[in-house]
């Protein structure tokens, strides 16, 4: 399941809903992304996440389908927020449930790597020098390429 929303989320409730009734699930891997206070050497006060409504959902759904094709998942979830977020706030939750932990961990990392390189979100940070668009990190692209098989 994927969700793009302005509101915060409750991780406990999300994971409970994800695994409820799915008693074949032995392990859930998850990733929680938070607003960091340092970007490079600049202190960050808060940030605003812009996104491309419509395409964001399509990309996340496509990435999730791909993960489910590659690994035997009982359930998966991506919740990504947009709008203005203070430092320390939750940005994204990715969770994958499987009978065994290896599949859950791999699928979770795959989802995080891909959403960081493909999902149309952009961060603008509030710094002491004014707003600043975050540069894409080339190592995110590198992280995503490890999943390419050809």
């Amino acid at each position: 399941m994927i969700r793009v929303q302005r509101e915060d989320f409750d991780i406990g409730r999300e994971l409970e809903a994800l695994t409820r009734g799915k008693t074949g699930v032995g392990g859930v891997a998850c990733f929680l992304g938070l607003v960091r206070d340092m970007a490079g050497d600049k202190a960050v006060g808060a940030m605003t996440l812009e996104h491309y409504p419509g395409m964001t959902e399509r990309e996340l759904a496509r990435i999730e389908e791909e993960a489910n094709r590659r690994w035997p998942l009982a359930a998966s979830l991506i919740v990504h927020r947009y709008g203005r977020l203070e430092r320390g706030e939750r940005i994204v939750l990715v969770a994958t449930a499987s009978a065994h932990r290896e599949a859950a961990f791999q699928a979770c990392e795959f989802l995080v790597d891909y959403l960081k390189t493909k999902a149309p979100f952009w961060k603008q940070e509030e710094t002491p020098d004014g707003p600043r668009w975050v540069d894409a990190e080339s190592r995110d692209d590198e992280a995503a390429t490890r999943w390419t098989t050809d």
Partner: protein, 83 residues
Amino acid sequence: MKLLYFAWLRTKIGIAEEVLEPPGGVTDVAGLVEWLKSRGPRFADALGNDKLVRVAVNQTYVDGRHPVKPGDEVALFPPVTGG
């Protein structure tokens, strides 16, 4: 054709969204970007570095050879930074 600009492409160009029809000679994404750059210094500046421009046609990533036609939704944006 509906054009959408995001993040610093949007702030550099100064427009979030516009509806227009490019000249008949513009048939693919590369041609569209070249034509947009000719529309003024803000466009030329924002779209000057090919490596930093991503294009989606009808909400799907495409490369420069992808065709564009009337009625398409074409989005231009920098590399994504979510997650």
